[in-house]
Amino acid sequence: MELPVREEEKNIHSEECYMNMGPQHPSTHGVLHLELKLDGEVVVDSIVHIGYLHRSMEKIAENRTYTQFIPFTDRLDYVSAMNNNLGYCLAVEKLMNMDVPLRAKYIRVIAAELNRIASHLIAIGSFAQDLGALATPLFYCFRERELILDIFDEICGNRLTYNYMRIGGVQFDLPDGIDKKIQDFIKCMRSRIKEYIDLLSYNVIFLARTKDIGVLLKDKAVNYSVTGPNLRASGVRCDLRKDEPYLVYDKFQFDIPVADKGDVWDRYNIRIQEIEQSLRIIEQALAGLPEGNPTVKVGRIHKPPAGEVYLRTESPRGELGFYIVSDGSEYPYRLKIRAPSFSNLAVIPELIRGVKMADVVSILGSLDIVMGEIDR
């Protein structure tokens, strides 16, 4: 409701102030530069500047063999590196029409889902910290993430950028005793999810900061090509693991959590529920793990036939797509990485128009972007 402007107020000189958030800022999730035009506490307009982490990976790919590019895919979305590896390897395998041993498929599913849990833990922890719950949820989430990183350390020797999947399989087989560790982790994680829900999800202050804020309507989300948990929070039931199953996802039973309002709380809650569903998938995958040799011969130079392929997989942030054009040689002719956070971030200027400064941080945290894959 607008009050009529009085005569005295018309003579008061008020300015809108321009404020920069970032690129170095505690809560922009990387090097993101938001230029905000503020009227007091309210954001009137905003401009998004990206490109501070641009490492020209697509140009580099034209100069590397297909196997040599796998470590580069780790560094795209560095928080969930296994999913990037997976997307790239699946795209190259489709280009070459190559089949993967069944044990490798199961191991890939286990690795990808474990990494999905790790990525969502970071999303939840840093989101709660941006809201002001000074590091306590962050420490709890990282405590669980340490368990996952220890498991990955045993499997492939790395904690963050795994370089684990290969074209045609994986790098190493699972070591002995790892399934007991994963079972213990699943049990521990289930009890900790209850803890998160008790502490955070229904806390009055948390609800007041997140309910009805940053509402993303369904048709706007689809038009902006928003994907992943953000799209599912707006009411669209769409998950590539169910719609176009790749690897062995069609053998497992799991649900797709969908919310209907599309506000910040829904996006957060969907991530918590997805952790639970990933735990179910890992359990079933471990139970059904077949025998065999999932590794590939080292040192083979792949020369796919000339052609092109576009393959998308469901990464924790949305649909990660790889478009590869091959001219028959051992280097790709063109490699395009369609990053989910790139399209998710494009919604920000519309979402933060007319909200207060404190909500900008909240909305940005709920979209869960990683600058590594936006800038490539």
């Binding site: 140009k59 038009n223 902006y224 051992e330 002719y333 399209s343």
Partner: protein
């Protein structure tokens, strides 16, 4: 809907459409791009999700690749537009699909293709005062070294 049926529907409406490549991409001339976009978004094909726009530099031509998905009908389509290297202008699709906004900015930044009627055509990944277009095949700088082929 099967890809052949989609292509035959498109061919009925736009006679210059051809099919190419292993991907089954539909090639349309650049002047008909807006009409095709209008048809794709509003007809029963209902391609409401423009998933990715990219470009490939094939030396003698630059191909613009548009990848569409439909959430309701669960089918997909790849549309290609060929541009000659001396005339890199094409209409922008940002008025139909908002996701095209940033993809087209990226192609302008990396390939030099100008999109007419784009709301905000500026460089997005490189700095604003960058001079050339990196992903072209004729890109050369003193510190860019092409590796030996095997």
């Amino acid at each position: 809907m099967q890809p052949d049926k989609i292509f035959s529907l498109l061919k009925l409406k736009f006679s210059q459409a051809t099919q190419e490549g292993s991907c089954g991409a539909v090639v349309i001339p650049r002047e008909r791009l807006l009409d095709v976009a209008k048809y794709l978004i509003s007809s029963e094909l209902s391609f409401d999700n423009l998933h990715c726009i990219t470009a490939v530099d094939r030396q003698e031509r630059i191909e613009l690749v548009y990848i569409f998905f439909s959430l309701q009908a669960r089918h997909n389509l790849t549309v290609k537009v060929y541009l000659t290297p001396d005339d890199l202008k094409v209409e922008s699709l940002a008025s139909f699909w908002k996701s095209a906004d940033w993809f087209e900015r990226e192609i302008y930044d990396l390939f030099g293709v100008t999109f007419r009627n784009h709301p905000n055509l500026r460089r997005i990944l490189n700095p604003e005062d960058w001079k050339d277009h990196p992903l072209r095949k004729n890109f050369s700088r003193s510190d860019f070294i092409k590796k030996e082929r095997y």
